[in-house]
Symmetry: C2
Subunit: 388 residues, 2 copies
Amino acid sequence: MTQEKRESLRIRYEHELFERVLPFWLRHSPDPINGGHFNNLDHNGTIYDTTKHIWMQARLVWMFSKLYRVVEPREDWLNAAQSGMDFLKNHTIRPDGRVFFSVTSDGHPIYQQRKIFTECFYALALSEFGNAIDRASYIKEAILMVEKIWEWADDGTLIGRPALDGDQPSQPLAVPMMLLNLLDEVKTDIDCSSEIDECFQRIKLHVHGRHTFEYVSTQGKQLQGPNGRLVNPGHVIEAGWFIQHMAHRTNNNTMIEMGRKMIRDAQSNGWDKTFGGLYYFYDAEGFSPVQLEWSMKLWWPHCEALYAHLLNYAYTSNLDDFQSFHLTDDYIFRHFVDSKYGEWFGYCDQLGQITHRFKGGPYKGCYHVPRSLLLCWQLLQDWPNQKF
Amino acid sequence: MTQEKRESLRIRYEHELFERVLPFWLRHSPDPINGGHFNNLDHNGTIYDTTKHIWMQARLVWMFSKLYRVVEPREDWLNAAQSGMDFLKNHTIRPDGRVFFSVTSDGHPIYQQRKIFTECFYALALSEFGNAIDRASYIKEAILMVEKIWEWADDGTLIGRPALDGDQPSQPLAVPMMLLNLLDEVKTDIDCSSEIDECFQRIKLHVHGRHTFEYVSTQGKQLQGPNGRLVNPGHVIEAGWFIQHMAHRTNNNTMIEMGRKMIRDAQSNGWDKTFGGLYYFYDAEGFSPVQLEWSMKLWWPHCEALYAHLLNYAYTSNLDDFQSFHLTDDYIFRHFVDSKYGEWFGYCDQLGQITHRFKGGPYKGCYHVPRSLLLCWQLLQDWPNQKF
């Protein structure tokens, strides 16, 4: 890629991020009455549900804190982060450290998941907000939460769910990749090299030849049935760059190579050769996955792929990586980008028709789009030597 | 509809049911080693997952027992029902009466739902199998189970899930319609008129003008947010004929009228005017439902609609009902019917392209297709005076 091409990409992403995506959230999501942010926003920013989904609340805090710290100390970004952080601390955490999945606009709890991810995003918010305002107490709290999450994660994926004897003990890819991301984000003076290595090894258990399975046995064996053949290409690609970031920091070339290969294989197996776009799921033996949405094209796998292919290309100059990046960029700007109201649409059917008009929902917030654009923008700027 | 047209329809459905649908299950589903039936069958009958999903196991028992009793005492049908019933009794019920959602092929429990539906289908299987072989002990067991289900249903939808104070107490339409179906199927000498009336009244709480909401408050008020605007047209249409069957038995003309209107409104609001087919969900105010699969066209709402419109037409001679029936029949035979291997495909995208090639899955078994064909076939035969 020529310097000129990089610069034109950088400008395009800069415009998309700072003029089209972030303003959408700053304008439409703040709750002027109770503080914090609404996340269920229609195509034009109309609030269609006042429920606050805490994954989204915490991710928005993380995002604006990060922008404040690494791009520019803008007051509106800090205010957005502060308001979300206050809402999180005041309304969403239980005395035992668990965090509600969703609450009403004024903070009454609606739902508690049996998974650990809400707590993970809460810890990310604490940590990055603490970094942004340089306040150690937030970071300390984040570290304590990561320690609890580490214990809960050992109990399996569903906290409090009794094991039944026909159930194959399994590990979802989401858990070790999330833990790795936490270790990368929540910086501590304590030596975490054994935990980092455990994450690497647990992710490696999922890699079976050219497929990285979403679920494997706790020893890394393939499970029987559809769950054992299931691949979520977006997850694999996201894990692929999580691994590379941490492996660059720890000078682990084997893991850098594994991360690169995971991304390339998931792209090659998960890309729809007929209609374009990454499948949400595929079955490694070609059966139809039982998930009704398997053939849909979601925004977030494409966000992850955009950065992951660019990262692979930046460090290897492999033209296949550039081609994958180009395909992804083209798919995104033809399908997800909304030139009218900003932010991106989130969901297309297999053929690429938009199926859901909203910009924010229970699982779509101010996160994958701006994170991907920011990472690409930074990489294009520091080419090819970003700081990990 | 002329007698000639009815007869040609009857013959077409008879062929589809007895030559194309039932043989698929009789040929591919039996487990010769452990007894019972596999339900995860690919397009051509190949088993792609040996997990036995108990909704499907119990529904198959119900279906073949019903056929044995009301159509013809065929030995292969009885054997299919008996094998499934034995598997259910030996492997799926806990001492407290709760029933596992899924078990391994040899009967080890995999998953327990927090909903009451597995128990409901188990009770249907017990009752109809008892009727088929004229054995009172099965029916008695079914009645005891219905009594337990009645108590559990009062505890809300998720057994054992603690209520949180921001959660709006709500009632899903699925519960009173399922209870009504149980009261219709599990015959008892005890007078159930107050329970029947309670089901009618609880369903009525969901009917708000031209929309029958999937969730309402326990007092029938519309809930805030997307759940409060959600309509599942297939559920409404199924409830519409459940109501009419029971209302015919109890000579309740008001409820017959309500059932008819629910079906007509759900058809009119839930039918995709551009690409045809019933949406899986719609939002009464036109927002995009948050369910990823909302715009898909599933086989079962069309099965329910086929019979429901024919029922409406048989008793009212209203030409709109005939037109809806005709649209549904046409959609089904153009999209779901598989002339090669038998049974029907289950899932299409909004445009009508098949998204999943399997014939049986965790939620698709030997039930909606043969039940609908049987009901239509019987109605066309006894026109317009079937026994309810």
